[in-house]
């Protein structure tokens, strides 16, 4: 179970990004999670609520976008996404491919924030 440690890393970089931008309140943290990242979504969501306690992100919600694996098939010359992660074969022609183009993401992409004062006034 390393999701708590992942959640702590996430909270650390999200808090840092927020305070660097002078943000006072974060409502939503948006994360892209690849199927090959090795992180269990439910455990991460659970750990997130523990990890935010007492930080700038307390009370915020974690929104996770699932990113499927995509492989490149040299026969079809096409990138296609896979349903799961147990069979790395081209869905079009069945040829195995280890050429992974997507699916390892574990990335903080954005914060939905609220400034007490609009930044431009």
């Amino acid at each position: 179970m390393h999701e708590l440690s992942i959640a702590c890393n996430l909270v650390e970089i999200a808090s840092q990004s927020a305070s660097d931008a002078g943000v006072e309140q974060v409502q939503v943290v948006r994360l892209r999670l690849g199927a090959l990242a090795g992180v269990v979504k439910e455990s991460l969501l659970f750990s997130y609520d523990i990890a935010v306690a007492g930080t700038l992100l307390a009370g915020s919600r974690l929104e996770i976008e699932d990113v499927p694996v995509a492989i490149f098939c040299s026969s079809c010359q096409t990138i296609t996404t896979l349903e799961g992660i147990q069979s790395f074969c081209c869905p079009l022609c069945g040829q195995p491919s280890a050429d992974i183009r997507q699916g390892r993401e574990l990335e903080l992409i954005a914060l939905e924030v609220a400034d007490v004062q609009p930044p431009h006034t």
């Binding site: 179970m1 390393h2 440690s5 992942i6 890393n9 996430l10 970089i13 999200a14 990004s17 927020a18 931008a21 943000v23 409502q27 994360l31 090959l36 990242a37 090795g38 992180v39 992660i85 147990q86 069979s87 790395f88 074969c89 195995p96 491919s97 280890a98 992974i100 574990l106 990335e107 903080l108 992409i109 954005a110 914060l111 939905e112 924030v113 609220a114 400034d115 007490v116 004062q117 609009p118 930044p119």
Partner: protein, 225 residues
Amino acid sequence: MYNPRILEVRRGVLEKNDLLAQRLRARFNAAGVTVVNLVSSPGAGKTSFLEYTLRNVSEQGLCSAALVGDLATDNDARRLARSGVPVRQIVTGGNCHLEAQMIADHLEEWGLALEDLDLFFIENVGNLVCPASYDLGEHLRIVLLSVTEGEDKPLKYPVMFNSADVTIFTKMDLAAAVEFDRAAATAAVQSVHPGMTILETSAKTGQGMREWLNWLTAFHQSHQL
């Protein structure tokens, strides 16, 4: 005044570990040492495999050292030290995987001269889940699958088997006794990682160890070019 907006960020959650791992890899490259990260489920035979390997690379005139992670004990380090090469233990204190920072800290405290080494082995904590996400700066991630633990392990732990470079079927001396289905195990590995190299060994009888050592030495040499 309440003014919601979107702040774009785009940062890897493991960026700290990844950056440190890249720095470690650069150090290893500069020192000319090949670094191997051994992963498996608990008890698949990492320490036994490594003990055999350390003894034999020494006989071949190669210099090696090993860093071994364990949740609570230093038993594995004591076993490995019998091979006569420098060995150091990382007691993770319950942490289920090694991280690049631990490798960096231990190298620092250890004062090991990397330049004098050809091969540096890291035995990860026995766990097929968590270590998959943490780059340690290794050149080779080797996953061990013992014949006693079921041919479908790769399908149950696809992330780890996909992230590894080589699979080693261990405890081959027990293959017949447990009716190990080599074809099924191979198919499972190839399904989650097409083209992955598979080797078969026994640390008890030495079966397949020659092939493994040749493979490793060849990798080390090609890596040095």
